[in-house]
Amino acid sequence: MEYLKSKGPCSAVEAGGFSLIEILAVLTIISLLLSMSVIGINRITDATDLTNNGDQIVNQLVQARQRAISDNAHVEVRIYPPPEGNRIKEWTLVLARQGLSETPAPLQQPLILSESIAISEDGDFSTLIAAREPQKDEGLMHSASGTEQKYHGFRFHPDGSTNLPVNPNGDTWHLTAASRRDIERNKGTLPDNFYTIRVDPFTGAVRSFRP
């Protein structure tokens, strides 16, 4: 009997078990920590996506300039906003070789940005998008529904310069990419984390700015 009293599994106090309140408290703390880490992980993933996508845009622009010089041709950079009505919102970048009389031909596979990343259409943050009239596609890209898409574009000349005029607002030619969540949440304000890419119309040089 003595043995059962001191070591028996029925005795909650002596076996060191938890009450329901304790278990609930622990579960609440764990769920709080988990939700906080999920927010943190989301931010880290968005930041990584932004860096990767920003770097890829820079590489594409540099490559477009290089191809224009090496091929002695005009290379057009076409930036397609996500097609209207599409569930997946992806921005696309296409490089097209543009002869004066030829029809444009894509130079390589288009660069499709991650769905979590968007290019701001704000007039201050993306002059290349907001201040350039969208142009009709001429059969290079079609949306899933088969309709021609509109794009914002500019050209690199064979000497490495661009066809971008002096910006009438006295600003530079640039675009700003950021997390889609941040852009949709803070319309008209600059997100904390962004990737701005500037194109020098004079030389075609590409420069990036991060916070």
């Binding site: 201050d124 066809n163 002096v166 600003d171 701005t196 420069r207």
Partner: protein
């Protein structure tokens, strides 16, 4: 525990030192590589400078009468100009020498002119002490307002597109002043069409020269620009009027980014540190002495630097001695 802490501290110190050495050497090599590229660009463009001279009737000589020319003279509407920047540029932050000339580079912003490779452009090079706001989007400038700017000496390039090149607007025969003749590189023109070529270039020395005739003193080659001044539209100097210098010696002095950071920390924001004495590079005959003094001064201040120098032959110079 103590041993572990010691090992951790030692590892962190080694890592930090390695990182610093790597960053410094990377900045040094990339800095001087950019300076070399810029130097090659200046040399290439300068060798293509042109005046496109022609022979015209001379009505200005003593032998000419009303409406009857007294002979022929070499004429041109184009311009080659070099001098100390402080003597003619309104930009107070421009240091050492500046050079402005015309070259057929075919640069235009008008797409309908694109296939015309021989279009004339105004070009210029000078060194300016400036902050890093050039080429920054407006919203970033506004965002960083109040923050410290990065002030650096920068080698600037002026390149006016052919449709904005105003060199033909001046007419010295019509009595235009020197200021009017230089209007194609006026402060407004320069502000509109300048861009930084490379950071941390502290001096640009331009010395127009003749080729040295064997048996003559070396100073004889410097007689066309003994004070580093050359103006192809200066009518008071018939030797250089409407003629390009056959040779131009270009010297470029660059420091590395680490030296520039140290300099910035030791000076007030916006006021250029005096690295090149105003007494240096005033007379072409003292070039070697002045360059040695500059080198010595930079070494004494612990500023890592490199000097690039070459003599460029201008192909379209039609010089006869």
């Amino acid at each position: 525990m103590v041993i572990l802490s010691i090992i951790m501290v030692a590892a962190a110190t080694i890592l930090k030192t390695t990182q610093e050495v790597w960053t410094t050497s990377w900045e040094r090599t990339s800095q001087f590589r950019d300076a070399r590229l810029a130097f090659e660009q200046i040399s290439r463009n300068l060798s293509q400078s042109t005046l496109n001279t022609y022979w015209d009737y001379d009505y200005s000589g003593s032998q000419s009468k009303a409406g009857v020319p007294g002979g022929y003279r070499r004429d041109s509407e184009l311009h080659f100009f070099t001098d100390a920047a402080s003597r003619f540029m309104e930009n107070r932050k421009a240091v050492t020498h500046a050079v402005f000339f015309q070259a057929t580079l075919g640069y235009t912003r008008d797409e309908s002119y694109e296939r015309l490779d021989g279009l004339l452009n105004g070009l210029g090079y000078f060194v300016e002490y400036a902050d890093n706001e050039y080429g920054k989007p407006k919203f970033l400038i506004a965002r960083e307002k109040g923050k410290k700017s990065r002030w650096r000496f920068r080698l600037m390039e002026f390149q006016s597109p052919t449709e904005f090149n105003t060199v033909y607007e001046a007419d010295e025969a019509g009595g235009d002043s020197a200021a009017k003749i230089r209007e194609w590189f006026s402060a407004e023109q320069i502000a509109a069409y300048k861009r930084p070529l490379v950071n941390n270039v502290i001096a640009l020395i331009i010395s127009p020269q003749l080729s040295r005739v064997p048996g003559t003193p070396s100073s004889s080659a410097l007689r066309i620009a003994p004070l580093y001044r050359y103006d192809s539209r200066n009518a008071s100097n018939p030797d250089t009027l409407n003629v390009l210098p056959p040779l131009v010696k270009i010297t470029l002095v660059a420091i590395d980014e680490a030296a520039a950071i140290r300099l910035e920390a030791s000076t007030n924001q916006g006021s250029p540190p005096r690295l090149v004495s105003p007494q240096w590079f005033k007379e072409a005959k003292n070039y070697e002495k002045d360059l040695k003094a500059l080198e010595q001064s930079l070494t004494e201040r612990g500023l890592n630097h490199r000097i690039f120098s070459t003599t460029v032959a201008i192909r379209s110079a039609k010089w006869s001695t």
